[in-house]
Symmetry: none
DNA sequence: ACACCTATCTATAATAA
DNA sequence: TTTATTATAGATAGGTG
């Protein structure tokens, strides 16, 4: 737009970033308005600034548009759920659907959780509960990703070893040593209650039976690493 | 834009209107994307064309933004309708029990939440959900405590003023306001089931009927203010 | 935060495929 | 009818104050 072409990439200078946000936001809202008028369309914009301030625009009204959107999403969600869950192809039939349901239920509870009127005591208690489960979830996630990384490393190592041996012996170096570089911090066996370690790291709770046939869904998980939102990224970093 | 300035008014010709919608929509979404990247903002756009087709853009995710939006709306609405909700004093004794039930239900779900077999994607999603709600809870808690502290300070001030006046006038400053500096975090008979206090903070469990007579349990909690997660801090600041 | 300047970008219209 | 291309009027946004 202006003097020189701007790289679309986070502006480092905070002040500049703020100014730019202000200007571009105004432009964006104006264009949304123009679009809605010129083309008789329903347009809604919700924007949160870096500091959390809310800016919004909605052509007939935010309520109506959100409602309409929810409706369309509900439809999509159903169809999506409908054709995604029954894809199993092989025999491990149901380890995923109970989870989907439980997640959905939990989500519902979380979403409709109304904090007004709760006493300080209850808030603290709930906070701790969530914090605890957050720790479990993060630990589980890290464990999962760590396994991914390890298995990836192992594969690569084996591949290299194979190639090397092949160069030397020109033969099949069939049985490979599994030399895990990364030690597994788990190894604790308290398979059940009282994960007293809700802190951010470790606490890899022993995965008891380890369903997840462990080869099916790995690859799709790894690419998630590239799409991590900030919080998750931080979690991984820390 | 081109030949002559375009009046911002519904385009009469249907074909032209359609073309214009297509182009301007593309431009709008692009600009939304640029804004979100350049300024590290959360931006969501929902647009329905004249014929009802949905077009959308969302910076981290539509879900998260809509949730955040709903939340901010709810918060605004509540603060607008008055912070008088936790004040009852009179006969409506039941505002707390639905919460207890809901909490209990949520607890149940959280406790029996089995993480085994969840995919990385689901773990990330759940983590975000919990993190978000944790932020809400902490913010709410801090808000509550802040109010408490303020009111306590006020009482103390009034008390001092009263005492001063008493010294001067030699009146008896008989009724002392109770404003305990330090409180005992324990001392509760946890009325019902395990509020697992797994975290490091003082965990004020249970003790149902005590809707904070507003002076007892503050001080140990206050230090939480230093450990706020980002969202809460923002919420409070704003 | 606002205002100015202007290089750059956008969207229209005309034309063509 | 839709889709692409082109030229260009004018809106946009970066830099500066």
């Amino acid at each position: 737009m202006p003097r020189r072409t701007v790289k679309i990439k986070r502006i480092e200078n905070a002040a500049t970033r703020q100014i730019t946000f202000c200007k571009r936001r105004a432009g964006l809202l104006k264009k949304a308005h123009d679009l809605s008028v010129l083309c008789d369309a329903e347009v809604a914009i919700i924007a949160f600034s870096e500091k959390g301030r809310l800016f919004e625009f909605a052509s007939p009204s935010m309520d109506s548009i959100l409602k309409r959107y929810m409706d369309s999403q509900k439809y999509l969600g159903i169809s999506e759920e409908g054709n995604s869950s029954p894809r199993l192809l092989n025999g491990d039939k149901d380890w995923v659907t109970p989870f989907r349901n439980k997640l959905k239920k939990l989500r519902g509870d979380l979403v409709e959780l109304d904090l007004e009127g709760l006493s300080g005591r209850n808030l603290i208690s709930l906070e701790q509960e969530l914090n605890y489960n957050l720790g479990r979830i993060r630990a589980k996630k890290d464990q999962l990703f760590l396994r991914e990384i390890e298995s990836c490393c192992n594969k690569e190592l084996m591949h290299k070893a194979h190639k090397l041996k092949g160069q030397v012996m020109d033969e099949n170096a069939a049985e490979k040593v599994d030399c895990p570089r990364v030690s597994n911090p788990a190894a604790s066996e308290n398979a059940d209650e009282e994960f007293s370690q809700m802190d951010r790291y470790a606490s890899y709770d022993a995965d008891v039976t380890d369903y997840c046939p462990s080869s099916v869904k790995k690859s799709t998980v790894v690419q998630d690493l590239n799409r991590l939102p900030l919080e998750s990224a931080q979690t991984l970093v820390e």
